[in-house]
């Protein structure tokens, strides 16, 4: 459990938010209040699937006022090899799961003069929590939410109810396009933008922001990255003296966990830096899929993020 403390929870409610998104209410099994979290946080949900433990990160949508529960929104991904399908098909009211402590890699910059929240599809989950937090603080904010159609927009009704005309919806079935070029001009000095959604959308929004002359420090993003697949390879741990095989449908981190290695992690999405490990030797090319290492660190070939990156080659030797 190198993700730190594990909190046992019971699923107390399941809501079919859209044909493909379910909201799960996770209630603390102990009856003790769950920790407070700042908007933008996620937890790693641990699911016992029988053969293995699946660990996926899910953003926290809200926390019950009395602290007894959190909710998360999970999209059933089309070619899921595990987690989201497990959540949709096997988890029922009463199911027991474990979650990590909340981790925040996507915080609201509180002093911001105005906040533009931009969501695409399931990327709405942290944005939902941020909008609530900003509303509570009486801050100035706008929500821009792109969905396929009204039925596929998770939480649209709730967002409209809570935030009124601060919400702008972009429906692709009506050919409405969320164009960052249109929402950036004229924003007051000190405005911050937050985007969560598909990679293409994040890239376009960030690039649009830089194009409009915004400093990168005012452009915040989170990408729900699942570990990409690749060729199998073996990983040798120089200090522990263990070698394990990494299958093509497995991440390096998962292979180590399967081999009983207590490897460090927090986000499992290539963003937090927790799983960084020094590379002793590699007889092939490192395939870096993270958002954490700098260009220089990548090209040095001396570091790798266990959760999302791999080797295109035969053997990777790690300083573990």
């Amino acid at each position: 459990m190198s993700g730190g403390v594990e909190i046992p929870v019971v699923v107390s409610d399941i809501e079919q938010a859209t044909p493909t998104v379910r909201r799960f209410r996770l209630t603390a099994a102990s009856g003790q209040p769950l920790p407070h979290f700042a908007a933008g946080s996620h937890v790693v949900v641990m699911m016992e699937s029988g053969e293995r433990i699946i660990r996926n990160a899910y953003s926290l949508v809200d926390r019950a006022e009395d602290g007894s529960s959190y909710s998360i929104g999970v999209l059933k991904t089309r070619d899921s090899r595990g987690g989201s399908r497990f959540m949709h098909e096997r988890v029922e009211v009463g199911s027991r799961l474990k979650i990590s402590m909340p981790v925040n890699l996507f915080p609201v910059f509180a002093p911001g003069r105005r906040h533009l929240l931009v969501a695409g599809g399931i990327g709405v989950t942290p944005i939902y929590a941020m909008a609530d937090e900003l509303k509570r603080q009486g801050a100035d904010y706008e929500i821009h939410y792109a969905v396929r159609d009204e039925a596929h927009g998770a939480f649209v009704g709730e967002l409209r109810e809570r935030h009124g005309d601060r919400l702008t919806l972009y429906r692709s079935d009506l050919s409405e396009v969320l164009a960052v070029r249109e929402i950036l001009p004229g924003q007051p000095f000190g405005t911050h933008l937050y985007v969560c959604g598909p990679q293409g959308m994040i890239d376009a929004v960030l690039e649009g922001g830089r194009e409009a002359g915004w400093p990168k420090e005012h452009l915040h993003s989170e990408h729900f990255q699942a570990p990409p697949s690749g060729d199998p390879f073996s990983a040798r741990l120089a200090k522990a003296g263990i070698t394990c095989e990494v299958r093509s449908d497995q991440s390096l981190l998962e292979a180590l966990e399967e081999a009983g290695v207590d490897a460090p992690f927090l986000c499992r999405g290539g963003a937090c830096g927790q799983c960084e490990v020094a590379v002793v030797d590699a007889d092939g090319e490192l395939v870096h899929n993270d958002h954490y290492l700098s260009e220089d660190e990548r090209s040095s070939g001396r570091k790798i993020m266990l959760c999302v990156s791999r080797l295109k080659g035969r053997e990777l030797v790690l300083d573990l």
């Binding site: 950036l184 000095f189 000190g190 409009a212 005012h218």
Partner: protein
Amino acid sequence: MITTSTFDSRPAYGGLSLDERAKSHLVVAEGDGASAVLDAFEDAPPSLARTTLLYAGPDGMAVRLAILGAAEFRRTSGRLDLMNRLDEVFATSKMGARLYVAGTESFIGEVIAKAATYGVVPQSVIAEQRGSLARRVQCVHCKHVDEEVTATPYACGGCGQSLFVRDHFSRRHAAFQGVRVDAEVPGEIPAAEELVQ
């Protein structure tokens, strides 16, 4: 995601260089900071057409800045006047503007602190230190900020304790930290050393 850490060690500020993608430039300088502005903007006429320049300092430098060709140049009577003027500029500016500051550490710190009240991330401010190398130090005990500190330890202007200047610069507070020097053995205060050569 904000990944920049709050505490950066020296050097505190990298130097003025033009952000080519900025739609406009807000440049503020004091005293010798003018020379950094001249170095960075002299060869950038197209950018100058989108530049607002505020300056507090001596005549000679003010004249050189005045003829630089910024779209708007304003010489203020001193730091206080400049800071007041800056409020108006920040209140009406739009995103796409980039803030630049040049001058002493205390001046840079004050400008960044003001910008921060408008929601500007301190790390996004492009700054260059010119002129006095004296430090801006915040007492970790009483939070008082002393400007122009030149020796360590020094007496805090707030609580009067003898403070050692730590070599850690907080971008957020735009200041070094001062910590009580005689915490271990009260009353044992070493001789002061010059901070700046």
